[in-house]
Amino acid sequence: MSGELETQVLKGIDLNIESGEFVSIIGPSGAGKSTLMYQLSLLDHPTQGQIFIDNIEVSALPSDQRTLFRLNSLGYVFQDYALMPELTALENVVLPMLMQDMETDAAYAKAMRNLERVGLKEKADNLPSQLSGGQQQRVSIARAIAHDPKILFADEPTANLDTTTSREILKVFLDLHKAGQTIVMVTHEKEFAEMSERVLELKDGLILSDKRKK
């Protein structure tokens, strides 16, 4: 007996996300949005059910294989940016590519291109502590997309930002989506969710609605 109570957060979710889609997941606190995203992004492990990405049952992969899959196929943008404080903006972006064994010069060049893509080329040598919240989130996005992930996951990426900066960040996501990037984003902001092409609304662990833009 561990003494812990098992809570069923997600109930009977059956979800299919197409390549190139921009999906927003919304819902009140405790609806299970983040849990769903953690499961889909392999940061957590389902106690029941299956998750497939590109026909691979990723939910069955052992821990080290999941890490490798995250490295090669998934990108993350966290609510609190989650940059390594001792690495510069450029070093934060280049890190996953070095882990992929990309040639060092090529990795740095690609990291710089991605920083340029999010408008932060001039801040490449700055440490996170020398950047504003919006700039840190852009670095986080640059890091998430630098290795060309199949899916980009974003967990409330604008939660810590003011409205203007949030809109700028959302624009970056929309630009990425236009370029063909699959994006799954959890957000509290209905306004921002409606900017995506598909909105999943969760409540009490169930999909309440699944709306696609026409």
């Binding site: 953690y38 080290d64 890490t67 993350y76 001792e86 996953p96 882990m99 064994d101």
Partner: protein
Amino acid sequence: MKKYLISLQVGFFLAFRQIKRASIGTTVLIIFIMTLTFLNLVVVNGILVGLLTGSYEQFRDRYSGDILITPQERIANIEKSQTLVSLAKSLGGVEAVSARTVVSGKIRADLGQNPSGKESPNENGGSVVGIDPEDEEKVTGLSDLVLEGKALEPGDEGYILVGASLIKEYSNFADANFPGFTILRGVKVGDKVRLTINGSQNGSAVQISKELIVKGIIKSKVDQVSQRSFVLDSELRKLTQNIDLNVQEIAIKTSVPDTGEILFALKSQTDLSKVRVQTYKEAIPSFLRDIESTFGVLGNVIGGIALVVASITIFIVIFINAVTRRKYIGILKGIGISARAIETAYIFQAIFYGLTGSILGFGLVFLFLKPYFDQNPLDFPFSDGILAASVSGSLARAGVLMLITLLAGFIPARIIVKKNTLDSILGR
């Protein structure tokens, strides 16, 4: 193989930047602790062993020479002493030879006084050594040991050098006060003393006395020397009626580091059942060798404790570092950085602290402490303590320190890296 190399590369990438951008104060403090640990490992052991090494060197330089020839137990003297002395002097690599006549005797200082029966006589017993002052000077530099007065010179008949341990005012045992213990009191240079030794007259044993003037008082850290008195060998032979010129000690000083050939030549010309031919190390009293092994064990125990302290320090440093960075470790795992690369980063940090501390410690020992102690030995009652530290021994200790540091860095990193990725990211 490739994934190991990538982990190494990424681990180094992370470690380098973590160290580079860490608090300078913290980094300096950790390196300081590692340096102290290295010093604790090398210096404490080195001083303990150095005390004995210094004692051995004193024994050789002030008493035995590089080779000491003595009679076997129960044999009165070295047979054919003069032949052996001549042989030794003829051997290549032999710098000087001192033949010593050693007898037991008693020195009495209260001449002309009549102590009441209640007062103990002002006398002391010990070995009396007959020397050729010039030969002895070449082997042991006896004049360097003169504390007061002057050394014996050829022709100094009627004079005696008295060992400091025999005189209350100079002895380390001055305050000893137990029944039967006698020691000379108030003897100064120029005083007249009476030497009484066992000799023979017309074939029968008799006690022979002679009054001598104290020419000097000698003090050495080698007890064998400080407890002796020295007179001219010619005078002592006259007193003992020793006409065969056989002596009790032959000390040989060599100019070569390896005395093997000299030793072989001497042994081959000697009846080893009656005479002992020993290197100075063999001649060292066994209690000193026992102390050496005890000090060695003590040094290793203290060194072992230092290692445990160092490993706990590194463990705590890395553990606290890893715990406070648990969220970032979770994020690293989340973005696909392998557990091995993250652990490697912490191992590299531990290696950096251990290596830098060891290099600094190494420099301190061999560029500063060792030369300093060689020039200014520690003044211990029985030796001039030096710092006995060899490069190979210190490298071995640095290696052990690195190994312990490596483990102490790896284990806490492993504990934190093994935690659930999402729990680490969310801090739960």
